[in-house]
Symmetry: C2
């Protein structure tokens, strides 16, 4: 059996984590469900944890990543801003490229 190279990347802003794999999952789930609580359920994490993550994302980002509507018809909801969508897309792109890069670096330890 051969060795494997694994990696994790994340984007930071002023020493705070802005986006990592977990946060991106959450944002995508919000985009799909239209609400933070539904997104939390779909990811099998507590609402509180989801809220804390999202709060941290919005506080670290230069511009709002989601619009959160409180109260009103249906109780409210949350949705990604265009800025949020472009952040998610950029992260996915860079992450995918990183995998490909490391896959190519794997050659260097194949013989070990």
């Amino acid at each position: 059996m051969s060795y494997k190279i694994k990696s994790r990347i994340w984007i930071e802003s002023e020493n705070n984590v802005l986006l990592g794999e977990g946060r991106v999952h959450l944002l995508k789930a919000i985009q799909e469900t239209g609400s933070l609580s539904k997104a939390a359920k779909s990811l099998n994490i507590s609402y509180k944890k989801a809220w804390q993550l999202l709060d941290s994302v919005n506080k670290s980002a230069k511009k709002p990543v989601t619009i959160n509507n409180i109260g009103g018809k249906g109780g409210g909801g949350a949705e990604l801003t265009d800025y949020g969508k472009s952040l998610v897309m950029a992260f996915d792109d860079i992450n995918k490229n990183c995998w490909a890069f490391l896959d190519q670096q794997l050659e260097k330890i194949k013989h070990l």
Copy 2:
């Protein structure tokens, strides 16, 4: 202030971590000091933690990464095998390249 991309890479073998940044630091300290206990001191971690890390490394690797001498003149000691040295060098090289790669990917989020 601009966003930054951070990363962490590691090498796995059969779903066990073989080498990460911490383990590489430990191996380098062993190389410099000639003993596991001195290496632990120099890294400010407990001997036990250092031993557990090293044990895990040697159990995950295909060939021994260190030779541990127990008892004898000076009480014993530990040193890297040639195989261990080449693993450390390969990791450092890949890690360095990964930084450079991500630095270049940074362009993609510069405008965000």
